[in-house]
């Protein structure tokens, strides 16, 4: 158990604890703010795993954009100070089952895929090199090479999927406008 392990475990506890608070708190805006804490702790986990680039992108996209978008949505619809009633949907058990199933699936995939991997196995290092910090596993260089050389097809497919979702969202909102104008 090294210091790194301890920090990772603590950050994990914070991330999971904040995540639990997101779904149990009775105040809508607090849930979004606990999400900030959870994402921040997750970024800390990435940092401990030397994935600096992923960590800061996590903060930029999830804290800086996704949570802000959530907050905007909440403030636009209803944002009472204090606990709101009717936040429980009554589907607790089903939600718990789905969450446990998803977690089990993800953990299994990760363990099966990366069981033997060690953090400092930088694949581009010559075997006699003691360290090659510029090409550590999580560096932007390594990540860029992996995404745009080895995994470029899944990356592009994902982009197309997101584009399709975007176009779909626009189509849905535009058709709403058109029918209203027809009337």
């Amino acid at each position: 158990m090294t210091g790194r392990d301890v920090v990772f475990a603590l950050l994990g506890v914070v991330a999971v604890g904040a995540g639990l608070l997101v779904v149990t708190t009775r105040q809508l805006v607090h849930a979004a703010l606990w999400l900030v804490v959870s994402f921040g702790a997750l970024a800390g986990c990435y940092l401990v795993l030397t994935a600096e680039f992923v960590a800061w992108v996590q903060v930029l996209i999830y804290v800086g954009a996704v949570v802000v978008l959530l907050l905007f949505g909440i403030m636009l619809t209803r944002a009472p100070v204090g606990p709101s009633e009717g936040l429980d949907s009554g589907n607790r058990r089903a939600a718990l089952a789905v969450a446990a199933g998803t977690a089990a699936l993800l953990v299994t995939v990760l363990v099966m895929g990366f069981r033997g991997t060690r953090l400092n196995d930088a694949p581009h290092c010559p075997p006699d090199a003691t360290s090659c910090p510029a090409r550590a596993n999580g560096s932007a260089e390594h990540l860029g090479e992996a995404v745009f050389r080895t995994w470029v097809l899944p990356f592009e497919v994902l982009s197309v999927l997101l584009l399709a979702a975007l176009v779909g969202a626009i189509v849905l909102s535009r058709t709403g406008l058109a029918t209203r104008r027809d009337r």
Partner: protein, 318 residues
């Protein structure tokens, strides 16, 4: 160890002094541009101690939290607004050969990500005040952040692409004079988008004092309000510092760009801060729809064009 402590102390000193200098400059520059004198009495010489006096006044005021407010978030918001700018100041290099408190690999992304977190402070303040004007202000802050974050990241990415590195010191090392025309559009987009993210005039719709009082800060007084003001000036320093490092070559200049290069950095930062104040005096406030139009119809396409130009030239020359 001692060196690290020394650097942190220097950053803390810069964080304490530079925003005050910008604030005082704003008092005086704005006054002279409008044909007035500005503060003249505090500290005897041209009112240099005005902000110190303001600080003392703020500290003496009563600490008021509205009865209907969400107390914890209301009290936490000023810290969330201020601390991120301190963190960004840590990674801005002021001179060559490691004159930076913390040389991060993906420094550009760190700076942009943490600056985005600072805005959450204003959103929290807007919501937790339990005041309609504050809530409106908070929503405007949110809308503004969402539209201006994108062009900012694009134009920063363009420089990172040109330099071939994400490290802030690395970018300045790679910088050459011809980057000025090459990255001109990106630099302008970055600066304007940054101003919008800081909610500085002419992008001060969220705090528009003549229509929604002071937006998210309406209910704040005393030290907490002072912290928000400090966050605004610290934000100006950070934005000018980032623009200097990314687009104006940081510590590089026609002469003296050795160990004394940090003087160039300071000169450029203050020149940009002067421009920030100048904008405030020159332009009327943009309306909400004009704000959104500027972001989506001008800044995003311009930054994408800059990104394409950078890529094409990089491939053609490299």
């Amino acid at each position: 160890m001692l060196e690290v402590v020394g650097r942190l102390a220097l950053v803390a000193a810069a964080f304490a002094v530079l925003p005050l200098l910008v604030g005082q400059a704003e008092h005086k520059v704005m006054a002279h541009m409008q044909g007035r004198l500005g503060p003249m009495y505090a500290g005897a010489f041209h009112g240099w101690a005005q902000l110190v006096a303001d600080g003392v006044k703020f500290a003496q005021k009563e600490d008021v939290v509205p009865a209907a407010a969400d107390r914890r978030i209301f009290k936490l918001a000023p810290a969330v607004a201020l601390v991120p700018y301190l963190l960004v100041l840590l990674v801005i290099p002021v001179g060559p050969h490691g004159q930076v408190a913390l040389d991060l690999g993906p420094g550009v992304f760190f700076a942009l990500a943490v600056m985005g977190v600072g805005v959450i402070g204003a959103i929290m303040a807007g919501w937790a005040s339990a005041n309609k004007y504050s809530l409106l202000g908070g929503m405007r802050v949110t809308a503004q952040l969402m539209s201006y974050e994108l062009p900012m990241v694009f134009s920063a990415a363009s420089v990172a692409m040109a330099a071939g590195t994400l490290s802030l010191s690395g970018i300045v090392e790679q910088w050459r004079w011809y980057w000025l025309p090459w990255q001109l559009v990106g630099g302008a987009v970055f600066f304007v988008a940054g101003l919008a993210e800081l909610r500085r005039p002419p992008f001060d719709m969220p705090v528009a004092d003549s229509e929604i009082i002071f937006g998210p800060y309406t209910e704040y007084g005393g030290l907490r309000f002072a912290l928000f003001l400090l966050a605004e000036y610290a934000g100006i320093v950070v934005l000018c510092g980032l623009t200097t490092v990314l687009f104006l070559g940081g510590w590089k200049g026609p002469f003296l760009d050795g160990p004394l290069g940090w003087l160039w950095t300071l000169v450029k930062v203050f020149a940009l801060a002067f421009a920030v104040i100048w904008f405030r005096v020159s332009y009327p406030r943009l309306r909400e729809d004009q704000l959104q139009r500027l972001a989506w119809a001008w800044l995003v396409p311009l930054s994408l064009a800059q990104l394409a130009l950078t890529g094409v030239l990089k491939v053609a020359l490299g």
